[in-house]
Symmetry: C2
């Protein structure tokens, strides 16, 4: 199998290698989030979210028709893109979200103009994502009010879109809005959102394409929430080396070939992932990330205290950290100067610097990072 | 590079391996169809078509706004999925087409209910694909009329959808409708369709995901048409081992990051393709395919003459051949009996058997195939 996986590209849906199920169990299924009993691999993150959306639409319509066979009218209209066969269902997403760039995903992405401009879209509801004020301990009441406001808006939108004849089949959300500016919300917000989804019969889809893989200190960022009731769908890609999504039993499509394509992933990437997981376990990398992440965040707090006219809103989970500059020009200038001293950082949102070190980022790396950043900021003063 | 490509997965858009352009030139660009100056690799066929559609939308809107910067209104509305930022543009496709299963692609796919049911779609125009009568030489006038009827309908739809406020930015078509039942049309049909696209300012996208790679006897099936003016976009996947699409210079997006994702393909697959191309050239496999294909098609003609109550409409280009059974039950029974004798065939459309041998399928393989098929049909009589 191992050799063959690197020189052949099987049509996984029809002719998977004989021990493919075992390889799935050793790789992606060995790290399945709580409650997630099934996995579907896909070739990239966008395809993962597109197919996760389809899974939620199929589940929703089967519920609506009482698991009966589709009507003649549904069968006839679906071939010409018309309702009821192609129903006016929607996915609720959040302002600032990024879920990919193919047409379905793009209708739930609202982070940058360059992603969206000129591409036809769907009239799907978009809720506000909480804008938390930092430091969190100084704005406890304000932030709780802000999260309550956003949740209220979610419920209003679900009701409004049902009235419009475009019911919300699923809610999709990132545990940390990454492209949108490293926006965080509290576990309480996500737990209440999950309850709203259940109450209104919508599937709850957690997009872990950016956050999954261990950099938050847990393998899945949403494991920090302490959900009683798991999500319905969790999608992944990037650090997992293969795209895909987990889902609960009840979201399994009722017939074969409803979720299908030729490649459905790439078994060689599952082998990579197995090896990566071995290293993560052997070297306790999630503990390492938790330790490095704490040191990093403390260092960022210290820097923003030292340079309050330049930096603010240090935040993060594990090493998945970020800090805001006073404006985008300053942010870009800091990034370029740091790069010239050997420190490569990323940007997101309007004026945010984001840190995305690998899992082998140790405390002594944190000190190197903070020293370079301090030098750059001192020059900037 | 070679070793690294098999153990790392680079973010090709941001940090491609240093000699990645050379590897593209050696692989996908060495077989670019006439007129295609640029290539964008992608991880799968659906992502290739989704991004090809986006490329056409961006090109179309830039033409419409005279290559000026987008208006404030466009910038503002695109973030909330509304026109004019997310304009009501459409892609014209054909009944029976298959262009993939993600939401954008699926709006141009019209082959089977199972692909489409329950998934929201776009109100995009769908033209009839010619239904040719066989044998072709007996129905020259009827088939020419049928193709003229379909082309007239295409022009009508382009006008109608422009009046509806959903102008057609691009026309997408397969050289042979594969999933839809191995439906062929004449080179004259495609040349006239290309002219209609130009006349109305629509991009012309040839989807070679199924037909590309040499099985028609040319590397690209649309090279059989003898177009004066090349297509605007040609997409590929499957046999090319990587997804992607070629396009003309003028369809290059005006800004970076408009067409982008993290992986944008997989450089290890380009290395596979280079090796496959070396074998195709060294062993003259396209000539081999042409030879085997002629023998296969003649054999199918002979079988349908011998079993006229079971078989009809033998057709094909190279080894990309098909034949219809009298009904789907008979088709399925023939396929199962053949499989039990060691001959694995595919199905498509309602009652079609499709042949998709690899490029090393020689004339003696054809005879083995025809012998088994003849045995099965003799039993069936």
């Amino acid at each position: 199998f191992s050799f063959s996986a690197f020189v052949n590209r099987p049509a996984l849906g029809i002719l998977p290698p004989e021990n493919f199920p075992d390889k799935l169990i050793e790789s992606v299924l060995s790290i399945a989030p709580s409650g997630m009993t099934r996995v579907q691999t896909m070739a990239c993150g966008s395809c993962s979210n597109e197919n996760a959306f389809k899974t939620m639409f199929i589940w929703y319509r089967n519920k609506e028709r009482g698991y009966a066979n589709p009507s003649e009218q549904e069968v006839g209209t679906c071939m010409i893109n018309q309702s009821p066969g192609c129903p006016d269902l929607s996915i609720l997403s959040f302002m600032g979200a990024f879920h990919g760039r193919t047409l379905g995903c793009l209708a739930t992405t609202h982070s940058k103009v360059i992603h969206k401009l000129d591409i036809p879209s769907f009239d799907w509801p978009i809720a506000p994502f909480p804008k938390l004020q930092y430091p969190l301990e100084e704005f406890v009441r304000e932030n709780a009010q802000e999260e309550a406001r956003c949740l209220e808006e979610v419920e209003d939108l679900i009701v409004k879109w049902r009235q419009k004849g475009k019911p919300v089949a699923g809610i999709v959300i990132e545990p940390i809005q990454a492209e949108g500016g490293d926006n965080h919300a509290s576990p309480d917000f996500f737990i209440k959102l999950r309850n709203i989804a259940r109450k209104h019969g919508c599937a709850f889809h957690v997009d872990e394409v950016q956050t999954g893989g261990g950099t938050t200190g847990k393998f899945w960022a949403h494991e920090h929430w302490g959900l009683d009731d798991p999500a319905d769908v969790v999608s992944f890609s990037k650090k997992l080396l293969t795209g895909g999504y987990y889902h609960r039993d009840e979201l399994q499509p009722d017939k074969p070939y409803r979720i299908f394509n030729t490649w459905m992933g790439d078994p060689s990437k599952n082998l990579f992932l197995s090896e990566v997981l071995n290293v993560i376990r052997r070297e306790n990398l999630l503990e390492e990330v938790t330790r490095s992440g704490k040191t990093l965040l403390q260092g960022l707090y210290a820097l923003q205290t030292q340079y309050p006219h330049i930096l603010s809103r240090a935040r993060g989970q594990g090493t998945f950290c970020a800090i805001d500059a006073c404006n985008d020009a300053t942010r870009d200038s800091i990034m370029i100067k740091a790069r010239n001293k050997g420190l490569f950082m990323g940007s997101c949102g309007e004026k945010t610097i984001r840190f995305r070190p690998t899992l082998v980022f140790k405390e002594y790396h944190v000190h190197q990072l903070l020293n370079i950043l301090n030098d750059v900021l001192a020059e900037h003063k």
